[in-house]
């Protein structure tokens, strides 16, 4: 049997983490293939509903990353995002959704190596947690219901 | 009746007994009860922190833990070296939970970091200053050089007490009892405390410069709040005089002794007879 390969979605801002991940590339630092990046202008733009959508579509883990505090290209989008994350994370945890599967981080445009570390460590964490079948069962419930009319 | 925890430390039970006596006499006059921390130990100054980090934290931590155990929320620590070590320990352990756990393990006592540490000046500012004016019977009408030394104000990040390069609190307090602090240059210069035993000639030089400047600026007395400073400026006066090649007889008083005199407390109660350089006020 093959080892479980987690599916990770990364929601990142254009100015810091996307550029940081670009630097990982130009520095030729290798990391796991499990992650796919979705580019946003700013962490402030990342709608919490999209995270839920990622889980319901089968993601086992999520990375959200943007500029370090005070470095936001838009001065304060990350501060707004951070507050929202505090509340959202607490709510999910309270409802029994596994917040260990969501990695929040700050990765600047200069932190190519850090990006690789974040990806690798998240992949490892999620690999240990296993597939997020609990959530996916709930999501599949929809498909089966629709299929059964 | 105000009750405050009291950590005398080793010096105040030995070479600087008069400091303890004057602190207690002054507190009595203001209806403050000093409650000694039971079973206290040495704070480790000045050797421990150069030898062993954990030991240098464990010794003060045990003292603070004992204070906590005895329900004290505030303690007064007259010795500047003890005040410094206790404050550094509190600061270090409050910033590092793991280390605090480790130290608690060593001293076999929980330490929470809840005790507030006051030096004598802070204690006086908090409980005495407002009532001072009403109780003065004999204004201390003399020129004084207030000497703070190294340990009372440094490191500023931790102690957060007074202006580190140009402290003012003792000057301001003495003005209240009629003294005239002189503007002088050696308020925080090192007196050579660490060399007092090993190389007294260096003490003679360092302390000599301090004493000379105080006299040159017209001071009639020097005022300190540290047993080490006092020992060097007072007990080491022969070494000082031999370095300066002159005889200087300016007396060195603890801040509590000056206040005590202004309040009319007897010289004996203030321990003035214990000084090497006679106090003639």
């Amino acid at each position: 049997m093959n080892e479980f390969e987690p599916k990770i979605v990364a929601f990142v801002c254009n100015w810091c983490t996307y550029a940081g991940a670009d630097l990982t590339g130009t520095s030729r630092i290798k990391y796991a293939t499990n992650v796919k990046i979705v580019r946003f202008p700013c962490t402030g733009r990342i709608d919490f509903m999209l995270l839920l959508k990622a889980f319901s579509e089968g993601a086992d883990g999520i990375i959200i990353s943007g500029c370090h505090p005070n470095d936001c290209h838009y001065t304060s989008g990350n501060f707004h995002a951070r507050r929202r994350w505090v509340m959202f994370r607490s709510l999910l945890d309270f409802m029994g959704i596994d917040v260990r599967r969501i990695q929040f981080s700050w990765v600047s445009a200069a932190e190519g190596a850090k990006w690789a570390e974040i990806v690798n460590s998240t992949v490892e964490t999620v690999r240990e947690l296993g597939p997020y079948s609990d959530y996916q069962k709930v999501a599949d419930f929809l498909k089966t219901e629709v299929e059964n009319g | 009746m105000i009750k405050i925890g009291f950590y005398p430390g080793c010096s105040l039970t030995g070479s600087s007994r008069e400091y303890a006596e004057s602190v207690i006499a002054l507190c009595e006059a203001f209806n403050i009860e000093l409650k000694q921390i039971p079973d206290w130990n040495c704070c480790g100054a000045t050797a421990a922190h150069n030898l062993d980090k954990e030991l240098s934290l464990a010794l003060p931590a045990r003292i603070l833990a004992l204070a906590e155990q005895n329900g004290m929320t505030e303690i007064v620590v007259p010795c500047a070296a003890c005040y410094n070590r206790l404050s550094v320990t509190e600061h270090t352990l409050n910033a590092d939970e793991q280390l605090r756990a480790r130290i608690s393990e060593i001293i076999e006592m929980p330490y929470e970091g809840t005790v507030k540490i006051l030096n004598v000046i802070q204690m006086l500012q908090k409980y005495v200053v407002n009532e001072l004016a009403n109780k003065i019977v004999a204004p201390f009408d003399h020129k004084v050089a207030c000497y703070y030394g190294c340990l009372l104000v440094r490191p500023h990040e931790i102690l957060q007490f007074d202006r580190v390069e140009d402290p003012q609190t003792i000057d301001e307090m003495l003005k209240l009892v009629g003294a005239q602090p002189v503007d002088w240059a050696f308020k925080t210069e090192c007196c050579g405390a660490g060399f007092s035993v090993s190389q007294p000639d260096i003490v003679g030089k360092l302390s000599g410069k301090i004493v000379k400047d105080a006299v040159d600026r017209g001071a009639e007395a020097m005022v300190v709040a540290c047993p080490m400073c006092h020992a060097n400026l007072d007990m080491r006066r022969p070494a000082i005089n031999s370095y300066l090649k002159t005889t200087i007889d300016i007396p060195v008083l603890y801040v509590t002794q000056v206040l005590g005199l202004a309040l009319g407390i007897s010289r004996e109660k203030l321990g003035l007879q214990r000084h090497f350089v006679p106090v003639k006020f």
Binding site: G25, A54, A59 | E157, D166
Partner: protein, 666 residues
């Protein structure tokens, strides 16, 4: 129905070495609505771009996905190529197969699978893209320059010489700033006023420059190209249109003992005064806080002696409004105050002075007419100690940064002193000598080698007065930390340069950011050094960080060229990647309910209000409305809006939703 073309780039071998690009192109061909999918060696090359252009025409593509390198690199290239083929540029998206895939993974099946996923996700996104047009914003071709030091003077002249109008606002009665206070300037030792005053006069006479002195910015509203400024003209109590600047008034003014700001407190001035003889404008103002009439109700001597009758005691502050298209902040710097150095006795000992005060002592127009005489007894000091880094690079004092100009001016001060007092001895205590700049190090060497200034590497712990001498205690770290005591006659502190006291308040008025030291923050430390984070507001000079004259002038011209570039266009073209509030048919008008929480969330104050009125002019509904000029497209409001009424073009809800839904769809 979308018709999407997918173009997979090999990037030479950069991508194709680890990603099976042919397989990616084949897989993409099978995606819904993809009608054309090819791979090619270099998509960004001319032939590569031609490939895309031809495909757009041949296959009637409605959307393009280029799977190549980072969009941060080539998105503009491919959007332009699409536009040239008649497809709206914003219908083109890139996915990053190089930096985010081929370069960071090995050649495995998973790598190619990931590449296919990345392409699919952008295909789904691009299906929801909408054609967008650049936003055109009109531009008021007048610049507001705040601060009339050398930075403001240079900026104003450069903009004005491009043919644009400039309003220069200065809070003091004269322009000139700190540079006018300087004696000579490094590294050439030419006289500061000699090179500055002609420019001051040029400003005053330039037909395109409106100079408003003794005035401050009251408020600024609006956005790039379209600001509205309110300027508070402080009451001068003198009608400058009548005043001839004859000087009778300040000659007769009985309040003569006011410390002169221009002379850094070393000289005095009168209550009605011009700050210095070469002031521009060279007409006086009355300093109300020191005027007998304003304070005690009696005097009016100046009025009696004023022949033209220009004195106006009843004059009040006046607010003038101006429409401007750009703002340049050139408010300069300040130096730390006496209480900063209790250990150096500044403020306590008269002969411990700041570098700025030394400039006045050395200046021919200064209180000693250029002779170095110490303030306490006006004797020529025989021994002078200069302390560099007085406050700078000192975390314990809360200033971690290097003030940058002190090494050079301290060398200059010591040199000037040696030139003027041949028998004198000078000492400089320094931490490092930072003399990077054209002819700078040579200048410092000259001070050390030719003028025999004693440089001591070490810090000064304390300065105290004894027997009429200033005892400077320090250490020489090049001599094993040997303690040193110097009996000096005068001590000069190279006091740290700090931000101006009002800078925080001004930054808030302008909505620009500032750093922890309250210096104004540039938009990018390297690539946008004269821009702020607010479009249309620029920076020059020491208000951004301490800097010397050449650097300030360079930055001023840089800011001026940015303003000129902005003004050179008939209208401002901006990326349309901004937020919009949805509009619907009446009676709903929009799903926006007008809670305006987005208003507080927006970092740019870009959200305003729009009232929807019926035919009789009654307000039916108030909606949020995004100001196209101010919005920078961060999208914070979008994630915030409960009703999803506000959306951001280019990263819209539909686009991002589709992208996420496609990513894992296997």
């Amino acid at each position: 129905m979308s018709r999407i073309g997918v173009f997979v780039c090999h990037c030479g071998e950069n991508i194709s070495a680890t990603v099976d690009v042919e397989k990616v192109a084949q897989a993409a061909a099978g995606f819904d609505d993809v009608v054309h999918s090819v791979d090619y060696k270099y998509m960004c090359s001319d032939p590569g771009q031609t490939l895309i252009k031809q495909a757009i025409k041949e296959h009637n593509l409605t959307g393009v996905v280029v799977a190549a390198c980072s969009p941060r690199m080539h998105e503009p290239t491919f959007r332009k190529a699409c536009a040239e083929a008649g497809l709206n540029g914003y219908m083109c998206e890139m996915t990053n197969l190089r930096e985010h895939c081929s370069w960071v993974h090995d050649r495995t099946e998973e790598t190619t699978e990931k590449a296919i996923d990345l392409v699919r996700m952008l295909v789904e996104k691009v299906k929801n893209n909408k054609p967008l047009e650049p936003i055109l914003v009109p531009i008021t071709k007048t610049a507001l320059v705040i601060g009339g030091g050398i930075a403001g003077i240079q900026t104003s002249l450069d903009i004005a010489n491009c043919g644009h109008k400039v309003i220069l606002v200065e809070k003091e009665p004269s322009i000139g700033g700190h540079m006018s206070q300087l004696s000579e300037t490094f590294p050439t030792l030419d006289c500061s006023q000699c090179i500055l005053t002609p420019r001051m006069v040029e400003v005053a006479q330039h037909p395109n420059i409106e100079l408003i002195t003794y005035a401050e910015l009251d408020s600024l509203e609006g956005y790039i190209g379209n600001f509205k400024a309110k300027i508070r003209k402080k009451a001068k109590s003198v009608d400058h249109s009548v005043c001839t600047g004859c000087g009778d008034c300040w000659g007769k003014c009985p309040s003569k003992k006011i410390p002169s700001e221009f002379n850094a407190g070393l000289g005095s001035r009168t209550a009605i005064y011009v700050p210095f003889p070469q002031a521009v404008p060279n007409k006086p103002v009355i300093d109300k806080s020191n005027c007998n009439y304003y304070q005690k109700g009696k005097c009016k001597i100046c009025e009696k002696f004023c022949k033209p009758g220009a004195i106006r005691f009843d004059q009040e502050d006046e607010i003038v409004e101006a429409e401007v298209g750009a703002v340049v902040v050139t408010t300069g710097f300040d130096v730390v105050k006496p209480e900063f150095f209790p250990e150096y006795g500044y403020g306590k000992y008269k002969d411990v002075i700041t570098g700025l005060q030394f400039e006045r002592l050395a200046s021919a127009s200064g209180p000693t007419l250029g002779e170095i005489r110490r303030p306490s007894d006006e004797k020529v000091p025989e021994k002078v100690v200069f302390i560099a880094c007085a406050g700078s690079r000192d975390p314990a004092k809360g200033i971690n940064y290097c003030s940058k100009i002190c090494c050079m001016y301290t060398a200059k001060h010591a040199m000037l002193y040696q030139h003027k007092v041949h028998t004198g001895k000078s000492f400089v205590f320094y931490m490092d000598i930072r003399a990077a700049g054209k002819n700078y190090d040579e200048f410092v060497r000259r001070a050390i080698e030719e003028d025999k200034v004693n440089y001591i590497r070490g810090r000064v712990s304390t300065v105290y007065e004894k027997d009429g001498k200033l005892i400077v205690k320090g250490a020489d770290t090049l001599m094993n930390g040997e303690p040193i005591e110097i009996e000096a006659d005068m001590v000069v502190l190279a006091s740290a340069g700090i931000s101006n006291p009002g800078s925080e308040e001004l930054a808030q008025k302008l909505h620009v950011s500032y750093d922890r030291y309250k210096f104004f923050a540039e938009a990018h430390p390297k690539l946008k050094p004269v821009e702020t984070n607010t479009a249309g507001i620029f920076l020059a000079g020491a208000c951004q960080a301490p800097k010397d004259i050449p650097e300030t002038v360079g930055m001023a011209s840089g800011a001026a060229s940015k303003v000129a570039a902005l003004f050179s266009q008939p209208e401002l073209k901006r990326e349309p990647l901004i937020a919009v509030v949805n509009r619907q048919m009446p009676p709903v008008f929009s799903s926006c309910v007008g809670c305006f929480l987005c208003e507080t969330a927006c970092p740019y104050n870009a959200i305003g209000r729009e009232e929807i009125k019926d035919r009789n002019g009654n307000v039916i509904k108030t909606l949020a409305r995004v100001n196209e000029g101010l919005c920078q497209g961060c999208g914070t409001c979008v994630a915030f809006c409960r009703t999803k009424s506000i959306d951001i073009q280019g990263f819209s809800n539909e686009q991002m939703y589709s992208e996420v839904m496609a990513l894992l769809n296997d």
